[in-house]
C-alpha cells in the first residue's frame, strides 16, 4: 500500500474537529481577515487576499458528536456573535433555580447556601449539541469550509513542523482487506493546523508525546460523564432548574457528582460525572448512574417520564498545570484538547470558544507576518495569558489535585484554596499522578478474592427495569451510534496477552466496567478467555484510552461518519 494516490488539498488554516473551539476560532478568523481586507481595499493597499479556512470533523454531521452538560457561561458566545439572540441561539433558559445537595443512600440534604464555586447565577442551561448544530451553518455561511465525515487519522510533519493532517481511509474491511469502495484518505496541507479534537484527542495525544509538549506539566486527569435526556409529562420541567449533587452513589474516595438540568419542551437532562482516577477496579460509571437514578429524590423527578437519549464524554479536568504547551511550529491546540476547562466548575464550552478565538487572533497575526513557526505562534500563549480564561484557570490551578486523597479531605482542601486564591496546603503547585495509576489491584476490593480468573464480586444491585434503569446496550441504542461493522476495529489493543495473562488476575479487566458503551467483553473461548471488542458500540468518549491500567488501548478514528448521532445532548 505504498504508492497510493491520495487527493490533496491545500488550505491556509485547518481546524481539526468541529466543536465549539474550532467553530468559534474559524468564524473569528474569517471576521478578522474580512475586516482587514476591507480596510486594506479602502486605503488602496494589498490585503491578505483569499485565505482558505477548513474544518474537518469525524462525525456524520456537524454536531453529531457534540455532548456536554451543560450550564454555560455565555460570555464567549456573546463576544463572537453579539447578535446571538436575533440569530436564534438555542439557549434553553437562563438559570432560574439552583439546588446543591448531598445525597446519602436514601436522603437528600440540601445545602442551605449555594457554595460560590457552584453558583450559576447568570449562566444558561444549554444543549451543546443544539448549539453546535445551530452554529455550524453560521460558520459555513461566513466562508469556512466544513467537512464532516473526514476524521483526522494522522498528523503530517516536515521534521518536527506540523504541515497538515491525513484523513482516514474509507473502504477497508475488518481484516484490513481493500474493498471495492476503497477510498484513500486525503492529505490536507495547511500553514497552521489547529487541533480542536476535544477531550483526549487522538492526534493531540501523539503530538504531545512526539514533541514532549507535556514536559514539566502535571499529567492530564479526566472524568467521564454519562447522561440521559428524559421527556417528562407536560409542564413538569422547569427550564433553567439546575441541581448538583455530591455523595451517593460515589464512594468517598471517588471524585464526581450528579447533575439535573431543566430544558425546554419538557426535557430533563441528568447525568453523573465520575473521576477517572478511582481506586476500585469494578467502578462502572454507567452502573453508578443507574444507581443515581434509583435514589428516591431522583426517581421521583423522573416519574411518568420516558428516556429519550443517552451519551457519554470524558472531561479533561487536570486544569492549569496539566495543560500541554499548546503552540509550536505550524500548530496550535485549543479547547478540551489543551485542557481549557474550569476544573472546579467543570465548565469548558466558554473556554473552548474563547481559546479558539484567541487562536484566531494569533493566526491572523501570523498570516500578516507570513510566519508560522513556534516563536510567531507563541503569540497564542501571550493572548491566553492576558485573557480571562487564564485568570479562571489559574484560580483553580490546584483544585483537582486536592481530591486525590478522597472527597472529604478534598472538600476541606478546595475550600481553603478558595479562601486563599488557589494556593494548595502543600504549596503553590500541587502535583498529580495519571488517573490510571491510581486504580488498585483486585486485593484492594476488601474481603474478596477471586477464586477463578474472571470471577467478579457482587456489584451493587441495579435492576434494569427498562423504565427507570437501562442496561448499557439499551442506552447505547439511544445514542444513535453506528459504525460500519466491516472495518478494522478503531480500538487498538496493542497486546491482547496482557488482557488475559496479567489484567484478569491483577485488575479483573476493568475495561468491561469503565466503558459506558459495552464495547469490551471478555469471552470464554475453549478453556480460556479472550477479549471481544464491540467497537461499533463506541460513543467516542475515550475512557478506555485514558483509564486502561496498562495503557495498551489506543483509540484511533474510525471510518468517517461513524460514531454517535447525538441529539439534544
Amino acid at each position: 500500500m505504498q504508492n497510493i494516490e491520495r487527493d490533496t488539498l491545500e488550505v491556509d488554516v485547518l481546524f481539526v474537529g468541529a466543536g465549539p473551539a474550532s467553530l468559534a476560532g474559524a468564524y473569528k478568523l474569517r471576521q478578522l481577515i474580512n475586516a482587514h481586507n476591507a480596510a486594506a481595499e479602502k486605503s488602496g493597499q494589498k490585503g491578505l487576499g483569499e485565505v482558505v479556512i477548513a474544518v474537518i470533523e469525524k462525525g456524520r454531521e456537524i454536531g453529531s458528536h457534540m455532548i456536554s452538560g451543560a450550564v454555560m457561561d455565555i460570555r464567549a458566545l456573546a463576544e463572537l456573535l453579539p447578535d446571538y439572540l436575533e440569530r436564534g441561539a438555542p439557549l434553553e433558559s437562563i438559570v432560574t433555580e439552583e439546588d446543591v445537595s448531598y445525597l446519602t443512600e436514601k436522603r437528600k440534604l440540601k445545602f442551605p447556601i449555594i457554595p460560590p464555586p457552584l453558583d450559576n447565577h447568570g449562566n444558561y442551561v444549554v444543549s451543546l449539541n443544539k448549539l453546535i448544530r445551530w452554529l455550524g451553518p453560521i460558520v459555513e455561511e461566513s466562508d469556512v469550509m466544513l467537512l464532516p465525515e473526514f476524521p483526522a487519522a494522522e498528523t503530517l510533519f516536515d521534521g518536527d513542523r506540523v504541515i497538515g493532517v491525513r484523513t482516514g481511509d474509507k473502504g477497508i474491511g475488518r481484516d484490513g482487506e481493500i474493498k471495492d469502495t476503497y477510498t484513500p484518505g486525503a492529505d490536507i496541507f495547511a500553514k497552521v493546523t489547529v487541533l480542536g479534537e476535544g477531550s483526549r484527542g487522538s492526534l493531540t495525544k501523539k503530538l504531545v508525546q512526539k514533541l514532549k509538549l507535556d514536559r514539566g506539566r502535571n499529567p492530564q486527569v479526566y472524568a467521564v460523564g454519562v447522561k440521559e435526556i428524559w421527556e417528562l409529562p407536560k409542564g413538569s420541567v422547569k427550564p433553567g432548574f439546575v441541581m448538583h449533587t455530591l455523595g451517593y452513589p460515589l464512594p468517598d474516595d471517588t471524585f464526581g457528582g450528579g447533575f439535573v438540568y431543566g430544558m425546554q419542551n419538557d426535557l430533563l437532562d441528568l447525568g453523573l460525572v465520575v473521576g477517572l482516577d478511582y481506586r476500585d477496579p469494578f467502578t462502572d460509571p454507567h452502573r453508578l448512574f443507574q444507581q443515581f437514578k434509583q435514589h428516591p429524590a431522583i426517581a421521583k423527578m423522573l416519574e411518568g417520564g420516558k428516556m429519550l437519549y443517552y451519551g457519554a464524554k470524558s472531561i479533561p479536568e487536570g486544569g492549569y498545570y496539566s495543560q500541554p504547551k499548546y503552540y509550536g511550529d505550524g500548530f496550535l491546540i485549543i479547547g478540551d484538547s489543551a485542557s481549557f476547562l474550569h476544573s472546579q466548575k467543570l465548565k469548558g464550552i466558554h473556554m473552548a470558544m474563547k481559546s479558539g478565538m484567541l487562536a484566531a487572533e494569533a493566526i491572523f497575526e501570523a498570516l500578516l507576518a507570513d510566519r508560522y513557526d513556534d516563536e510567531q505562534l507563541s503569540r497564542f500563549r501571550q493572548l491566553v495569558e492576558a485573557s480571562y480564561i487564564e485568570k479562571e484557570l489559574y484560580e483553580v490551578r490546584n483544585f483537582h489535585q486536592a481530591f486525590e486523597n478522597g472527597r472529604l479531605l478534598g472538600l476541606m482542601e478546595s475550600g481553603l484554596q478558595w479562601l486563599f486564591g488557589g494556593v494548595g496546603i502543600a504549596g503553590d503547585h500541587l502535583h498529580a499522578k495519571p488517573g490510571h495509576t491510581r486504580i488498585r489491584t483486585l486485593d484492594y476490593v476488601v474481603g474478596w478474592e477471586p477464586k477463578d480468573p474472571g470471577e467478579v464480586p457482587e456489584l451493587p444491585a441495579v435492576k434494569y427495569d427498562n423504565k427507570l434503569t437501562f442496561d448499557k446496550v439499551t442506552d447505547v441504542y439511544r445514542s444513535g451510534t453506528e459504525h460500519d461493522e466491516d472495518q478494522p476495529s478503531h480500538l487498538k489493543v496493542l497486546d491482547v496477552n496482557i488482557c488475559i495473562e496479567k489484567c484478569t488476575k491483577e485488575y479483573g479487566n476493568p475495561c468491561q466496567y469503565f466503558c459506558p458503551a459495552a464495547v469490551y467483553e471478555i469471552e470464554a473461548e475453549g478453556g480460556g478467555r479472550r477479549p471481544k471488542l464491540n467497537f461499533s458500540n463506541c460513543v467516542h468518549c475515550k475512557t478506555c484510552d485514558i483509564m486502561d491500567p496498562y495503557q495498551i488501548i489506543d483509540w484511533v478514528t474510525p471510518e468517517g461518519g461513524g460514531g454517535p448521532n447525538y441529539i439534544n445532548l
Binding site: D7, L9, E61, L147, G171, T183, N265, G480, I567
Partner: protein
C-alpha cells in the same frame, strides 16, 4: 444519456420518533435526516450508467431548504447538477402530488431515464415513480435489480416474489424504481466535495412548474399516527434439549403450521 435521479430526504432510520401534537405525523423537532436508502442506490446506479455510457446525472429533490444537503451529497458523489423543488405549497403533498411535481420538473429536461428508489423509508407508499411515469406518459418498471442500456431502449431485471425475476425491455425515455442493494455505494471524496461547490443547483417552485392548486390538493390524508400495540408474547419451552426440540417441532407444525 441524461438521467434524472429523485432523492428523498427522510428521517434517519433509527431516529427516536415522537408523535406530533396534532397526532397526524411525527414531531419534526429533534430529527436528523439522510438520503432515503433505495434512492441512494438509484443515485449510484445513475452514476455507474453515466460512467459506462456517458451523459449527465441530475440530482432532484423536493422539500424545504434542508433537502439541499441531499442534493449536495449527490453532487459530491458525482452528479452533474441539482434540481431543488421548493415551495410552501409542496409541504403536505401525498404520493400523487409528489409524483405530479416530479413529472412537471422532469418535463423541463429532455431526459432518457428517470430513476427513483423503490419506496420511501418514511411513508413507504412506493407510488411516486409510478405516478410520475404515468403523468409523463413514459413506460416504467418497478423493483429493478439490474439495468442494461442499449441504443434507444433498455433491458431491466425486476424482482418478483419467491426468488423469481423478470427481464423486461423498455424504450427510453423510461422510469425505473430501484431496489436497495443492487450496487455498492461509493464514498464522497474530498475532490468530489470541492468540485460540487461549483455545480449548479436550480430551484423551481410551483409557479415555475405551472402547477395550480388543483394538482397539488391532497387526494389522501393521514388521519392519525400511533404506535403499534405490543402484543408480542414470549414463551419459554422447558426441558432437556431433545424434549425442547420435540415441543418446538410440535408447535411449529400444529400451531404455527409452517410445515
Amino acid at each position: 444519456m441524461k438521467i434524472i435521479v429523485c432523492l428523498k430526504q427522510v428521517p434517519k432510520n433509527d431516529s427516536i420518533l415522537r408523535i406530533s401534537e396534532t397526532g397526524d405525523w411525527i414531531q419534526d423537532r429533534d430529527l436528523t435526516y439522510e438520503i432515503n436508502e433505495s434512492d441512494a442506490y438509484a443515485l449510484e446506479e445513475a452514476l455507474q450508467l453515466k460512467e459506462k455510457h456517458g451523459g449527465e446525472v441530475i440530482a432532484l429533490s423536493l422539500g424545504p431548504a434542508r433537502v439541499q444537503s441531499v442534493i449536495k451529497e449527490a453532487l459530491a458523489r458525482g452528479a452533474d447538477r441539482g434540481l431543488h423543488l421548493e415551495d410552501p405549497a409542496f409541504d403536505k403533498l401525498d404520493a400523487f402530488g409528489i409524483g405530479a411535481v416530479i413529472a412537471a420538473a422532469a418535463k423541463t429536461e429532455q431526459f432518457d431515464l428517470l430513476l427513483t428508489g423503490l419506496q420511501s423509508d418514511d411513508f413507504g407508499f412506493a407510488q411516486t415513480g409510478v405516478v410520475a411515469a404515468e403523468l409523463l406518459g413514459a413506460p416504467h418498471a418497478t423493483i429493478v435489480m439490474a439495468v442494461e442500456v442499449a441504443e434507444g431502449s433498455m433491458r431491466v431485471k425486476r424482482e418478483l416474489e419467491s426468488g423469481y425475476f423478470q427481464w423486461v425491455t423498455l424504450p427510453s425515455p423510461a422510469v425505473l424504481t430501484i431496489q436497495s442493494g443492487i450496487n455498492t455505494l461509493r464514498y464522497a471524496t474530498l475532490k468530489g466535495i470541492m468540485a460540487a461547490k461549483k455545480k449548479e443547483i436550480k430551484k423551481l417552485d410551483a409557479a415555475a412548474l405551472g402547477l395550480d392548486s388543483n394538482v397539488l390538493a391532497p387526494k389522501q390524508q393521514i388521519r392519525r399516527v400511533y404506535f403499534p400495540q405490543k402484543t408480542k408474547l414470549t414463551e419459554m419451552l422447558e426441558g432437556s434439549p431433545s424434549e425442547v426440540a420435540a415441543k418446538l417441532l410440535d408447535r411449529l407444525a400444529n400451531e404455527a403450521r409452517v410445515f
